[in-house]
């Protein structure tokens, strides 16, 4: 039961089809993560075990964290860099098997660091779906120079193809920093015309915008409404983002 409910805007309940929040776990302790989910887990839909962090932690702790997140009705998934490493090393079957063993219901398929031919990426998405995973796929390169080579029309074509191949959500890359990458310029400001163009061509509910900084979160909420899907949220900012979505913080109060 909540207090002050007479002051709050309504929000979609879980499982949500929009207004999704994806949080980045950079290596939280099990008890600390559990304490955080007890207070704010209802506002988290997806939980990414960032990049290759799942390699360096003990299996029993990863399993316990995966289980704990699932108890909070959160979908935990492995970061895209891990998939890319498996692809690069020709170890996809082993990768899928171990991800299953750890209990992950979803994985990310990306090509941000490793060069993967389009056909292969789409095959991988289909293969992962066949293996029983929900697939989130990411469009964009981690290297800003390579990322700039991707035209907007390419991005849109890729998004469309990946959704058709079975991805449930398309992640628009912004990294943990959110600057000079994808739809953000060097100062971290969003390129509004590019976002409009993407949304003219792709179903917005299928897009998860990485928006690690508060200003970016405010921008998206004010531009696209509080049911926008946002990702790479710091675990420290889960509650803040939920209040931004509901107009309970100065930046969005009275504006949504």
């Amino acid at each position: 039961m909540k207090s002050f409910e007479f002051l709050s805007k309504k929000r979609e309940e879980k499982p949500r089809n929009c207004g999704i929040t994806m949080v980045l776990d950079k290596g939280l302790g099990l008890e600390t993560a559990n304490s955080l989910m007890d207070i704010s887990g209802e506002y988290v839909d997806y939980l990414k075990f960032g990049w290759g962090t799942s390699i360096v932690h003990e299996q029993n702790i990863i399993k316990a964290k995966v289980e704990m997140y699932k108890e909070h009705e959160i979908t935990p998934y492995t970061g895209g860099t891990l998939f890319e490493l498996a692809y690069k090393n020709d170890k996809l079957n082993e990768y899928f098997k171990e991800a299953h063993d750890l209990g992950f219901p979803a994985i990310e398929v990306s090509d941000g660091s490793v060069n993967i031919p389009r056909e292969d990426k789409l095959d991988c998405i289909e293969m992962a779906v066949d293996e029983g995973f929900e697939v989130l796929s990411e469009v964009g390169k981690k290297n800003p120079d390579l990322d700039k080579e991707l035209s907007l029309d390419d991005r849109i074509k890729y998004m469309d193809e990946e959704l058709k191949a079975g991805s449930s959500l398309i992640i628009v890359e912004a990294r943990e920093g959110g600057k000079n990458i994808g739809i953000f310029d060097k100062s971290g400001n969003a390129k509004e015309d590019e976002i409009d163009y993407i949304l003219d061509n792709v179903d917005g509910n299928k897009i998860l915008w990485e928006a690690p900084n508060k200003d970016q979160q405010v921008f998206f909420i004010l531009k696209l409404g509080n049911a926008v899907n946002l990702g790479n949220i710091s675990s420290d900012d889960i509650t803040s983002l939920e209040t931004l979505r509901r107009g309970l913080r100065g930046d969005t109060l009275g504006k949504i």
Copy 2:
């Protein structure tokens, strides 16, 4: 019992009339907050449940956190944005009742985001005091353009009026970021002449300066001494601030 006490400057003990530290809780888990208070709670005087965060968390967790903070002799209080929403929605009575039910001994009265006529704000302070709350009131606007419209003489007049209406402390707005707001310029540097002018006209022990960044904390301690009241301190920085106050960190060592 402490170690190395022969190296430490003395500080006021709780309950303190000056040298107050106010910490911002953005949504800490109960156990994590408790662990933090066990080690550093003695250096925290006020604990703000930031803006509207109290709306989105379960009552039983908020009650448990409020109780826990009080056991550490800390005064927990609800953020000003929550008050402003209640005012705007004409729900002040319900607001006071639920804040009481959750166990909050204090509330913040502000007009940073919502336009509240002066008379109404002063009435609200008196009303909250009558309801049994300690009141901290804030002077300043969250929107930098609106904030700049407030002259220094207005600020001083407002502080004076609000203290007379019953506020125990006046908070000088700097938000979580501490830049381009109130007495901080765009780079987060303090405007020293404005601070001097305020202190020529208002009792410094009644002012709580929001100073979220370390450089700002150092500035205030070096300028006004270690018994300055500082607020919007990140929960990660409680111990750091206490060492700055005592000359136990490079920035203030040998200087206070």
Copy 3:
């Protein structure tokens, strides 16, 4: 047991002679620190109780934290500012005694904030070694203007002298911020030629580079390999650094 081990580069096991990670504890709660060490403590070699933080916490909590870190095969040590205060107040014997009582196996000897004649600093290192401590000593001043007065040849001479006096590692100062100090310029970029010159003259395995920011960590790993010693790592970034060292994050994937 780890998952996805077929994707991982090997790393030195503890106790490590190179590839050392030193983490800064700014005042973590005992339970929170323990939860973090359970998941990532195997990647931490040294744990610094930052500057004078050990003065303001209760002895029983410090003892429990020291013990907990040691159980994770981590060497906890007291920050250099504490040593400098003891020197300045002519309380070195009391300082050594209390550090022993708290269970610290190591201390830092620095002169970043207090002016200590060279001979005295070297004597202090010898004295601490005689008292049974492992000594990490730091070269550099916390004040950027004073720090700039130190020539590179002076730094190298000092490093050499301090190693001979008994220091196990020489820390190159960068503070918590990592900008405009030591080998970092105002933007936090490393001065590569100075690093080369130092490494031409001092054994790299004996140097611990403070590198608080991710870009700095990436720089050192790409320049000097993943067995570089890095310090002042935020407790939030332990796992991230380990993945950077192993090429499991985009910044170093395929590059080491």
